[in-house]
Amino acid sequence: MKIAIIQFGGTNCDLDVLHVLKEVMGLDAETVWYKQEDLSGFDGVVVPGGFSYGDYLRAGAIAARTPIMDSVKKLAAEGKPVMGICNGFQVLTEAGMLKGALTTNAYPKFRCHWASLRVETTDTPFTSKFGKREVIRLPIAHMEGNFYAEEETLAELDENERVVFRYVDENGKVTDDANPNGSIENIAGIVNEGRNVLGLMPHPERASETILGSDTGRKMFESMADYITENF
C-alpha cells in the first residue's frame, strides 16, 4: 500500500502529512510534485493544505486545472480514497470532485485555532475508527473555509449522510458561536457520492501527536489505511 501526497507550487503541509504517515504511523507514503502526472502504483491520495499557486485567482482554482488532477480523478474512479485537507478541500471542489464551494470567512481574516467537530458519519473510508456523533477537536487554519452549497445540494448531502464533520460547541451542539467561518449548516467536511473522496477544512495531521496537543487526527489516517488494506 502506498499513499501519494500531491505537491503543487505553494503547497505547504505536504511534509507535515508525510511526517505523520511515514514517521508517526509507519505507512508507505511519498510526495509527488505536480509535474509528475502518473499516479500508477498509488492506492490513495492526500491533497494537503497550503496556498497552491498563492491562492491567486481563487483558492485551489489553478491547482484544480493541472494535469495531475486527471490522474487523481482516475484513481478516485477506481474507488481508492482521496483526502483533501484545507487547501486540498478547496482544490477538490474547484476540480468538481466535491460539491459546493469554499468562500472567504464570514469575518474576512485568516483564522488559526482549535475547533470542536462532530463526526456525522462513520460510514466513510476516513471515519470508520470514530464513533458516530463523537465530538473531537482538530485545529483549523484558513481564510477561505466558508462552505457554501445550494439548497438542492445540501438536501442531497443530508439525505445520503455525506456531511462528515460539522463545527459544534463542546457539548456537540451546532451553534453560530461554534462556527468559525460562516459555513452553511456548520459544515466542515463532506464526501462525494462514492464516499471515497473527502474534503475537510480542519487539519487532522496537526492533531496526530500527543505532544502537539492531541492524536485524534491519526484515526482518520488509520481509517484510510485500513480501508486500502481491505479493498486494494
Binding site: 511534509l15 507535515d16 496556498f51 498563492g54 481574516k109 487554519a141
Partner: protein, 721 residues
C-alpha cells in the same frame, strides 16, 4: 544623492569621477542600513562568541549548535520605513527578507517572531497601519508555511507616523548542510535565481537611512518592494534542494542594495572580485538600465556561487520550480567589481573599497537634560492613590498593551510544520526539534523604561526575555537585536543608542547569552508628528528546553496550589503602564535591574526544571496585578499581599514594573522555596475559586471571571467592531 564628503573620498581613491551606476552602488552600499557606518563602533562592544556559536554576526544569519547534529540559523531584521509607506507590502517583505537570510545558510525556516510597535489606535491612520501590517505578516508567513510563534505588540502615541516592524526568524538544518556567503573559487559562475528583477525597491537601502517626510507615502512608494509569497515558497524549496544536492558553494540572498550588494559582498568576503553581465539578469520589464538591474530590491531572489559544470543542473531546478534564473557572471582573482552591460563596462571599482571602504565613525553624544549623565529630576508629581482601586486595575488590564493579542495571533498560522508545543499567548513559544529537545522563543523590548534610562531599560529588556525562557525551563542559547532609534545625528539620540547598546551588552554578558546578530534602524522620526520614537532596542532570544520535563503553563492549571512571588517589588513607577494611562509619562523612577537578577533567573529555571512547578509567569508590563490576572483562567486565585504591601502604596505594589520577578504555582511549596534559597520570595496565596481576589494591608479587590475576560478581550472586541 551621495553625501559631499563621501563623493570626495571616492574621487580621491578612484582618481576620477564615479559614473552614475558607480555612484548608485556607493550610495546604497555606504548607507547606514548596509554599512552600519555610525553604529559599528558601538556594536563591537557586544560579546558575540560562546560555546554553541558556530557562526556569529557577519553572515546572513548566525549558526548555533543544537542537539543530535542539528544546528539553528537565527537572524533579526527591521522593515520600519517601508511599513509606514505601504504597510501591507512593507510588513510582508520584511518577513520575506529575513526568511531568505535563513535559507541562504542552508536552513529551513521553522519559526518567525514579530515585535511590532504602533501609535495608539485612536486615529484612523494608526488603525489602518496596524490592521494592514498584521495582514501583511499573516499573508506572507501563512503562505510560505512558516509559523509565527511569538510576537510583541506595543502601542504608544510616539510611534504614530513611524511604526516599527521587526521580525526574527529561526531555521533548522544539519551542521554539514550549512552554506556560508564567502565566495570560494575564482572562475566559478554566479547564478541568480528566484523571481525576475523589476524596478521596485529602487534605492531602498538609502531610503531606510533617513527620516520619514510628510509626503513619504507618495514620494517614496517606488522605494518599497512588493512581496510575492508564492514565489518565495518556491524559492525556499529550490534553494534548499540546490544546497542539499551540493551545487551551491556560496549563497547570499538579495536584500538591501539588490544584486550589486549581494554579489560584491559575496566576492569580497571570499577575497575575490566579480564580473557581472547585467544583460543576463532576467528582467520583469523592458528597457531596464544597468543602474536599475544592479540596485533594484525586487524580492524573492537568491545568488549562488556554482561550479561551471553544475550550472545546468541548478537551472534545471529553477525550471522545476517554475522560477527564473540565469548565469549572470563569474568570480575573479582580481579584486575588482566589474559590471558589463550592452557590451560596455558600466562600473569598475576596487571591491574592498566598495564594500568596506566606508568611513566608520562615532558621532557626538550628549545626555539629555542638564548634560550630565545621571538621575533625571522628576518632572511631575506622583498621582494620588486611586479611590477606586478595582477600576484602576481594570483600566490597566484592558489597555491595548495588556489585553490579549488573540485577534493578532489567530491570523497567523502558528501550527504549520508540526512542531508547536507551546502556542502563542504565553511567555515564550516552544517548538519540538528532536524527540528530547525543544526550542523556546521570546522577543520584545521595554521602550518606555529605555526612554527614561536607556542603559537600564535595555538591560531590563534582556532580563525580561531571559525570564520568559526561564519560566519554561529553557537555557538561553543566543540573542539577536534590532536597534530602532531616531536620528543619530542628534547627540541625545546617539547617547541613547550608546547607552542602550551598553545595557544590552552587559545584560547579555551577565546571563552568558552571546549576541549573534541583528540590525540597526536609525532615523525613525516622523515629520508629520514632529516626534522621534522612544528608543526601541528590541531583541529575540532563543533557548533549549528538555521536553521530558513538564513545561509550566502561563495560567493556573490546578486549584489548591501555592502561589509564590519571586523577586522584589519596588516603587519603580517610571514608564509603567499605570502611569502612562494616567498621563504621567515623565514621573517616577525608572526600573533598575537588581544586582542578583542573574541568580533569580537561574533559580527560577532550576525550580521549573525540578518538575515541581505547574504554572509560571514573568512579571513585567502592568506589574503584579497584570501578572496575577493573566494567570487566572479556568482556575482563579486568592491572594494575600499583607506582608508585601505593608507600609507601601497599594497602586505601587500592584502596578510597579520592577524587573526580574515571576509568579510560580506549585503543589510542593516547601520544595520549591528550598530551590529558591535566600532569594526574595514569598507565598502570596492559593490557586482556586472563581476569578481573582487580592487582599492587601489597606485594600481588597475582587475580579470575577467575566470582568477578567472582558478586560483581556478589549483589543479583539475593538478590532472586530
Amino acid at each position: 544623492m551621495l553625501p559631499e564628503e563621501d563623493l570626495k573620498i571616492i574621487k580621491e581613491k578612484l582618481g576620477r569621477e564615479p559614473n552614475l551606476v558607480e555612484q548608485g552602488c556607493f550610495l546604497n552600499m555606504w548607507s547606514e542600513h548596509c554599512s552600519y557606518r555610525s553604529s559599528a563602533p558601538l556594536l563591537k562592544t557586544f560579546t558575540t562568541t560562546g560555546e554553541n556559536v558556530l557562526i556569529g554576526p557577519g553572515d546572513d544569519a548566525a549558526i548555533l549548535k543544537f542537539e543530535d547534529g542539528y544546528v539553528l540559523a537565527f537572524a533579526m531584521e527591521s522593515h520600519n520605513h517601508p511599513s509606514y509607506v505601504d504597510p501591507y507590502n512593507g510588513a510582508a517583505t520584511g518577513v520575506g527578507g529575513i526568511v531568505r537570510d535563513i535559507i541562504s545558510m542552508g536552513a529551513r525556516p521553522i519559526a518567525l517572531m514579530d515585535p511590532l510597535y504602533f501609535g495608539t489606535l485612536d486615529t484612523p491612520k494608526n488603525l489602518f497601519l496596524f490592521e494592514q501590517i498584521i495582514k501583511g505578516i499573516a499573508g506572507y508567513g501563512n503562505c510560505i508555511g512558516v509559523p509565527v510563534l511569538r510576537g510583541e505588540t506595543f502601542f504608544d502615541r510616539r510611534y504614530s507616523g513611524n511604526p516599527l516592524v521587526n521580525v526574527v526568524c529561526v531555521g533548522l538544518c544539519k551542521e554539514d548542510e550549512v552554506v556560508i556567503s564567502n565566495a570560494q573559487t575564482p572562475g566559478n559562475r554566479l547564478v541568480l535565481a528566484g523571481s525576475s528583477t523589476g524596478k521596485d525597491g529602487l534605492g531602498g537601502a538609502s531610503f531606510a537611512s533617513r527620516d520619514l517626510s510628510e509626503s513619504a507615502e507618495a514620494e517614496d512608494r517606488p522605494s518599497v518592494q512588493v512581496g510575492d509569497p508564492y514565489t518565495e515558497k518556491l524559492t525556499i524549496e529550490m534553494t534548499l534542494e540546490a544546497i542539499r544536492k551540493g551545487y551551491v558553494k556560496a549563497c547570499r540572498d538579495l536584500g538591501a542594495a539588490g544584486l550589486g550588494g549581494a554579489s560584491s559582498e559575496m566576492a569580497f568576503k571570499g577575497g575575490l572580485g566579480a564580473h557581472i553581465i547585467a544583460d543576463n539578469v532576467p528582467q520583469r520589464e523592458p528597457n531596464m538600465n544597468a543602474y536599475e538591474i544592479l540596485l533594484a530590491e525586487s524580492q524573492e531572489r537568491m545568488l549562488f556561487e556554482v561550479a561551471p559544470e553544475d550550472v545546468d543542473a541548478v537551472l534545471a531546478l529553477v525550471e522545476k520550480y517554475d522560477l527564473n534564473g540565469a548565469d549572470i557572471g563569474y568570480l575573479t582573482e582580481e579584486k575588482t567589481y566589474v559590471v558589463e552591460f550592452r557590451g560596455e563596462i558600466v562600473a569598475e571599482l576596487p571591491i574592498d573599497f566598495l564594500t568596506a571602504g566606508v568611513p566608520i565613525f562615532e558621532r557626538p553624544s550628549k545626555a539629555p537634560g542638564s548634560g550630565e549623565e545621571g538621575d533625571k529630576p522628576e518632572k511631575s508629581e506622583k498621582p494620588e492613590i486611586p479611590a477606586d482601586l478595582k477600576q484602576a486595575v481594570l483600566n490597566v488590564l484592558s489597555s491595548h498593551n495588556l489585553a490579549s493579542k488573540e485577534w493578532i495571533y489567530r491570523q497567523y498560522d502558528h501550527e504549520v510544520q508540526l512542531r508547536t508545543v507551546v502556542k502563542p499567548g504565553e511567555d515564550a513559544g516552544v517548538l519540538k526539534i528532536t524527540d528530547s529537545h525543544g526550542l523556546a522563543l521570546s522577543c520584545g523590548c521595554q521602550p518606555r523604561a529605555t526612554l527614561l534610562d536607556p542603559y537600564e531599560g535595555a538591560k531590563a529588556t534582556v532580563y525580561e526575555n531571559a525570564m520568559n525562557l526561564a519560566v519554561k525551563g529553557a537555557e538561553p542559547l543566543a540573542l539577536v537585536n534590532c536597534l530602532n532609534f531616531g536620528n543619530p545625528e542628534r547627540p541625545e539620540i546617539y547617547w541613547q543608542i550608546k547607552q542602550a547598546v551598553l545595557g544590552l551588552g552587559d545584560g547579555a554578558r551577565e546571563l552568558s547569552i552571546p549576541v549573534v546578530g541583528g540590525n540597526v534602524s536609525l532615523y525613525n522620526e516622523s515629520d508629520e508628528h514632529k516626534t522621534a520614537i522612544p528608543p526601541t532596542p528590541s531583541i529575540g532570544v532563543i533557548g533549549k528546553v528538555e521536553l521530558n520535563i513538564p513545561i509550566p503553563s502561563s495560567s493556573f492549571t490546578r486549584p489548591g496550589e501555592s502561589i509564590i512571588l519571586v523577586g522584589e517589588t519596588k516603587p519603580e513607577m517610571g514608564g509603567s503602564e499605570y502611569y502612562t494611562i494616567l498621563g504621567k509619562t515623565e514621573a517616577g523612577a525608572a526600573p533598575k535591574v537588581p544586582e542578583n537578577a542573574q541568580k533569580i533567573i537561574k533559580a527560577i529555571r532550576d525550580a521549573v526544571k525540578s518538575g515541581k512547578v505547574s504554572s509560571a509567569h514573568d512579571l513585567s508590563l502592568g506589574g503584579l496585578a497584570a501578572g496575577l490576572a493573566g494567570m487566572c483562567g479556568t482556575v482563579g486565585a486568592e491572594i494575600d499581599l499583607g506582608e508585601i504591601s505593608a507600609g507601601q502604596q497599594p497602586d505601587e505594589v500592584l502596578f510597579a514594573e520592577s524587573p526580574a520577578r515571576a509568579l510560580l504555582s506549585t503543589p510542593e511549596p516547601e520544595a520549591v522555596l528550598a530551590l529558591l534559597g535566600d532569594l526574595s520570595c514569598a507565598i502570596i496565596g492559593k490557586t482556586g475559586g472563581n476569578g481573582l481576589r487580592v487582599k492587601g494591608e489597606s485594600f481588597e479587590i475582587a475580579l470575577s471571571p467575566e470582568e477578567l475576560s472582558e478586560a483581556s478581550g478589549s483589543l479583539t472586541r475593538f478590532m472586530m467592531k
